[in-house]
Amino acid sequence: MNPFDIQKIRADFPILDREVYGNKLVYLDNAATAQKPQVVIDAIVDYYTWNNSNIHRGVHYLSQIATSAYEDARETIRAYINAKEKYEVIFTKGTTDAINLLAYSFGEKYIHAGDEIIVSALEHHSNLVPWQILCQRKQAKLKIVPVNDKGEFIFEEFEKLLSSKTKLVAVAHISNALGSINPIKKIIKKAHERNIPVMIDGAQGIVHSAVDVQELDCDFYAFSGHKLYAPMGVGVLYGKEQYLEEMPPYQMGGEMVDQVSYQHTTYNRLPFKFEAGTPNVEAVLGLNAAINYIKGIGIEQIYRHENELLKYATNKLKKIEGIRIIGEADQKAGVVSFLIGEIHPYDAGTIIDHFGIAIRTGHHCAQPIIDHFKIPGTIRASFAMYNNFDEIDLLINAVKQVKKMFE
């Protein structure tokens, strides 16, 4: 494995040379979306400059080139997450799309009145509201696994919620608001003892850790390309064949049908059954390039680097009087959420921005966990492979300025 060369990596991301308010950009909003390496931008340009075409049913050359590239990308992703079959990899437009697909389609097939679905108190709205609505529609019940004051999933409470009524467990791999890593392997094992399938919201998980869906034995795993250094507009729903085969399609039209008449329509096989309409070939090829780029560096090395940044930032922050770290799980990745005394996160964010530092403030689309801590929101710095220690020093400096201005 190559040594982790942060200088070289930074040079691969053109946006890092950008200035904001006369300062060099410090981009610490990676949990919202990641920046793109040149190879990903080039993949898009190449595609539109040389090979753009609609795919699948076309017999012409460009269509075949584009189809091959698209299906090769599916294989790249299959291998990256170690899915058993290529057709277990469904392309969506993102995590939200993937979870909505699942909530509808799994819901139609398996959820009935009186059933229960378990989520955690840490979920992003995209892994909460679809299940709320499904439960309303089917007169099922949503059960919430609480977290402790460190922001950790309470496993014992989870065990208590499991029952013969439970039809699905849907939890985040890593919390986007607090960075807590959930014990998904244990969760899956426990749920499987009762034959309950588990879906993992991997929007953050895939970014900060190696994911082997067969080893995890999760039944579904969803993630977005844009947080994984890939273009916007693509995501993945991995699902075990047995479920995907049984589930009805979600969207209709285009590639997902096989035979159509006015009386009767039959559906195409997997994965096409779940890929209605012209797919986003561009973004899929971009995702392919992003994953190859990550593989070239090594996800373990990336995780180790991000973890060092996280520890460094946390320690430095803690040395500032009045700082409150929100979420102090033992197992954490990628994200530090905090408050500066009684200063409103919006005030802090506005000032920090003027130093050219992009952090996020607010509830991070995870309102319930923010409400749990009885705070108006947090200031969140989130890390990617290209961040370095200097950038954290700049953040610390800005935080100190904020203190000065508001206290």
Binding site: Y21, I343, H344, D347, T350, I351, D353, H354, M405
Partner: protein, 144 residues
């Protein structure tokens, strides 16, 4: 006491801001202004007076009395409170007509572009909109 016209107060504020050398001075001033905002009666901190779509909660209240509009406001965030205070300094005690006719042009002159984006985290645009809505409501009421 005669109320100064909107344009005169706007010019005053623009003048004040012209002195600041950098953004930090500007924000320090806005923070300072936050202390001067006509504080809303705590009983009026209702959901009705809440301006939606801001990252910090902002309440804006208006009353119509003797042909002029009286504003009061509060926010959890100091900067938002400062911005509210600036707006109120200009629009308080003006007639609904004058408020409706104003293009809030001083706001553009202060170099606070970051608060003028369609970004829904920003209270400023929403506050201006809400002030105009109040003015419109009072005008309609008065003409009936």
């Amino acid at each position: 006491m005669e109320v100064e016209s909107i344009r005169i107060i706007e010019d005053q504020i623009i003048e004040e801001f012209a002195h600041f050398e950098d953004w930090m001075d500007k924000y320090n001033y806005i923070i300072e202004m936050g202390k001067d905002v006509p504080k809303i009666d705590p009983d009026l901190k209702t959901d009705n007076n809440l301006i939606s779509g801001c990252q910090s909660r902002v309440w804006l209240h208006a009353e119509y009395k003797d042909g002029i509009v009286l504003f009061s406001a509060d926010s959890e965030a100091v900067i938002t409170r400062g911005l509210a205070s600036l707006l109120i300094r200009v629009m308080n005690k003006q007639t609904p007509e004058d408020i409706l006719n104003s293009d809030f042009f001083f706001v553009k002159k202060l170099g606070l572009k970051e608060h003028l984006s369609p970004n829904r985290s920003n209270g400023l645009v929403s506050m201006i909109k809400q002030m105009k809505l109040y003015a419109l409501a009072f005008q309609t009421k008065a003409s009936r």
